[in-house]
């Protein structure tokens, strides 16, 4: 026979366990709904299942001589030296944004050649290169 105290304790443990499982389930669920996938221009070209209209990140190098500016927005081409994609952005660019420098843009894919960015990610250090871009450049430089 279980005493009342032990019973209480078991109930309490089951309760805690269920509670944590449910919490973790919800955390993971909203995590899956809210992650941003990072793709290079080549990956966007090659992959069939690229989601349009869902926020994502694109990165690479800003192509030389590709920046055009109008009153409404900035357009530039991002390249990974194999494929490229046109990015349109209305907003302030970070101070280290320049031609032939690495860039990461966050936004939505319009079609496979055109990306509308909501944000250009700022890096604080001119020597710093996001690992994703470093990998792309190293791969394609070979």
């Amino acid at each position: 026979m279980l005493t009342k105290k032990v019973k209480n304790r078991i109930l309490f443990l089951i309760f805690i366990f269920l509670f944590s499982v449910i919490s973790v389930f919800f955390i993971i669920k909203s995590l899956n709904e809210n992650v941003l996938y990072f793709s290079s221009p080549s990956e966007i070209k090659q992959r069939e299942d690229i989601p349009f209209g869902r926020p994502m990140r694109v990165g690479g190098m800003v192509k030389k001589g590709s920046i055009t500016i109008s009153q409404k927005n900035i357009q530039f081409i991002v390249t990974d030296f194999e494929n490229e994609i046109l990015i349109s952005y209305a907003g302030t660019v970070p101070s280290l944004f320049a031609e032939e420098k690495g860039v990461v843009a966050e936004g939505k894919l319009n079609d496979k050649n055109f990306f509308i960015a909501d944000r250009i990610l700022a890096k604080h250090d001119e020597n710093y290169m996001p690992p994703e871009i470093k990998e792309i450049i190293e791969k394609n430089a070979k």
Partner: protein, 628 residues
């Protein structure tokens, strides 16, 4: 010259660490009740030498001694004097030396100020603290030595990243370091407590002040970092759920939980094991955060140049810390009986701890998930603000409600009849919320609930404050200030989030842009030379279309020569009711300037309420000192 002085001093500290561990373990076996005088002396010498080594590095920076690689890489002769000094901890190696300084200073202070506590407990604490010191000293000497030399000696340095040349960022690292590294002392104390059996109330008393000190400094450090991000990074926000920001939040959640459950241990002599777990995890999380940030594993917008080789060492040391902490904990911890009444203050503190741990786990999962996914599937992802907002923000509502009611309950069992008061205050909060909607505009259901909960907490805290003025019960005051600060913070962030206006557009000189409420006239530009940068200053005339009030804003583009970088300085006009925020940038020297204009209500109040949270902690420290 400076290099050899610096290295000798660091090696001396290292030897003293060994000596302290050795003499302390000998002293453990003696029957006397007091610690030998020579241990105090050794510890004092150790503190003096570490401080001297740090000053040696500062002198290197002040004199621009480029024979030191560290100075060469992070300084420049024409950098302003203040930033030469701040440059000492504005880089990895120098900040590691600061880290060790704080470890050593805290070790000495704990030894001196803990004399009322058990001898074995104090000696074990000293031993563990010195093991930590040794770990970081070896890391400094083997991997990140700030005193490494370069030959031939360069004539000029590379300069400090201009974005770090800012008063807020000069004080931000020392504040955070006192906060994060300060946790080390109760990590050591927790281990010592397990080994020496010095547990319960006296243990709680021995670490109480240290927990508060590091909590205050962590809070303050995080706030200063946010303020810096707000005016220096030029996007007008102050919190982005970026991995580096999250890394600073993890130990903060743990320490906030610890600070609360420590009260239970002190007053009710229960929850000992849980307090120990929190003590251990706070410092482990601090080191984990540092490890993730410094090794470059996490991709963050705040990442400065990083080096994976650092990561391996910190990871090894971290595993050693976690492993030994776990072993000692499972071997030594004692079974406890928990006996809580539902209507008691303990239950509310447990609820606080539950929420803090939940927040901690959420942020940790959000931080580590991209790393796991990268290793497992090679997919590159990042977890953005929406995830954290969805999981964390709704739970802030019950937290605020409990924060208001919890302190009203007594220990053990309470007969308080506060139901009517709660109902009345919730009703008032709903009314005030309706009032805001009526005058300023609608928002979502969730925002409604957040505003109601925040106003409820504010009203409750204000009533408590009124009671305090009548009764002058000093122990209540710090809690009231901090909880009120938190309510106000959530309230003002909510208002700010709901009613901010933001416009992005490109303008040429002389052009005019009309937004909904403002006419922005880009009149002209001027160029100004400063000591180590040249600035291009834009003159913007802002006309408020509602009342024709005219203001001038002058954002800058700064061109630093060493290293060659641009920074954008926002023009911010702060008023009691709102901030006007304007940044100007230029891409590829085109005629168009990229303008970001924002009107952000109650910005200054966000800072004031956040500072109130930290102020509560400092008030507690001062009151405690006066009592003694």
């Amino acid at each position: 010259m400076l290099s050899s002085i610096g290295i000798s001093l660091v090696v001396l500290v290292l030897i003293l660490s060994f000596l302290i561990i050795y003499t302390a373990s000998l002293d453990l076996k003696t029957p006397e009740q007091i610690i030998k005088k020579n241990i105090y002396k050794l510890s004092l010498f150790q503190t003096t030498f570490t401080i001297l080594s740090f000053f040696t590095l500062i002198i290197g920076f002040i004199n621009s001694d480029f024979s030191l690689i560290n100075v060469y890489e992070n300084s420049h002769t024409n950098k302003p004097f203040f930033y030469k000094i701040a440059g000492t901890w504005g880089n990895h190696e120098g900040s590691l030396l600061l880290w060790i300084n704080i470890l050593v200073i805290f070790s000495y202070l704990f030894l001196v100020f803990s004399h009322v506590h058990g001898k074995k407990f104090r000696l074990y604490t000293l031993i563990f603290q010195n093991i930590l010191i040794l770990g970081f000293l070896f890391f400094l000497l083997l991997n990140s030595n700030p005193f490494n030399t370069i030959y031939p000696i360069p004539l000029e340095g590379l300069g400090l990243n201009p974005i770090l040349q800012d008063p807020a960022l000069a004080i931000h690292p020392p504040l955070l370091y006192v906060g994060f590294v300060g946790c080390s002392i109760y990590f050591s104390a927790a281990m010592a407590s397990l080994l020496s059996g010095y547990s319960g109330k006296p243990f709680a008393k021995s670490i109480k002040t240290w927990v508060k000190i590091s909590w205050c400094f962590q809070t303050l450090g995080i706030i200063v970092g946010s303020i810096w991000a707000y005016y220096e990074l030029g996007w007008g926000g102050f919190w982005f759920w970026d991995p580096v920001e999250n890394a600073s939040l993890l130990p903060w959640f743990a320490i906030t939980a610890l600070m609360h459950s420590l009260i239970v241990l002190e007053k009710r002599n229960t929850l000992y094991s849980w307090v120990i777990i929190l003590c251990l995890s706070t410092f482990i999380l601090s080191v984990t955060g540092t490890f993730l940030v410094r090794s470059g594993i996490l991709n963050s917008v705040h990442t400065f140049a990083s080096d994976p080789s650092r990561g391996i060492y910190i990871l090894l040391f971290l595993s050693f810390m976690i492993f030994s902490a776990l072993i000692i904990f499972f071997l030594k911890h004692k079974k406890e009986n928990y006996n809580f009444n539902l209507k008691s203050r303990e239950i509310f503190i447990l609820a606080n701890n539950w929420f803090m741990v939940f927040f901690l786990v959420t942020v940790l999962i959000g931080m580590l998930y991209p790393i796991f996914l990268d290793v497992l599937t090679n997919a590159k992802i990042s977890v953005g603000p929406p995830f954290f907002n969805i999981v964390i923000i709704p739970l802030v509502i019950p937290v605020m409600l409990l924060m208001a009611i919890g302190p009203k309950f007594g220990w053990i069992k309470s007969q308080n009849k506060i139901l009517y008061k709660i109902l009345f205050l919730i009703l008032s909060a709903v009314m005030i919320n309706l009032f805001i909607i009526y005058f300023f505009g609608k928002y979502s259901v969730l925002s409604n609930l957040i505003f109601i909960a925040a106003i409820f907490l504010i009203l409750y805290s204000l009533l408590d404050f009124k009671k305090f003025i009548n009764k002058k019960n000093k122990t209540e005051l710090p809690r009231i200030i901090s909880h009120l600060g938190f309510g106000l913070l959530v309230f003002f962030i909510g208002i700010n989030h709901q009613f901010s206006l933001e416009e992005d557009f490109n303008l040429k000189i002389g052009e005019i842009k009309e937004t909904k409420n403002y006419k922005i006239n880009f009149e002209d530009m001027e160029i100004k030379e400063s000591k180590n940068f040249k600035s291009v200053i834009g003159n913007f005339k802002l006309t408020n279309l509602e009342n024709n009030f005219i203001q001038y804003l002058n954002p800058e583009i700064r061109i630093y020569s060493n290293p060659e970088t641009l920074t954008y300085e926002a023009a911010i006009k702060t008023k009691i009711t709102s901030d006007l925020y304007l940044t100007m940038s230029n891409v590829s020297r085109s005629d168009y300037y990229n303008i970001k204009f924002q009107n952000k209500p109650f910005m200054i109040w966000i800072w004031i309420s956040a500072l109130m949270i930290a102020l509560g902690g400092f008030v507690r420290l001062i009151l405690k000192n006066n009592e003694n």
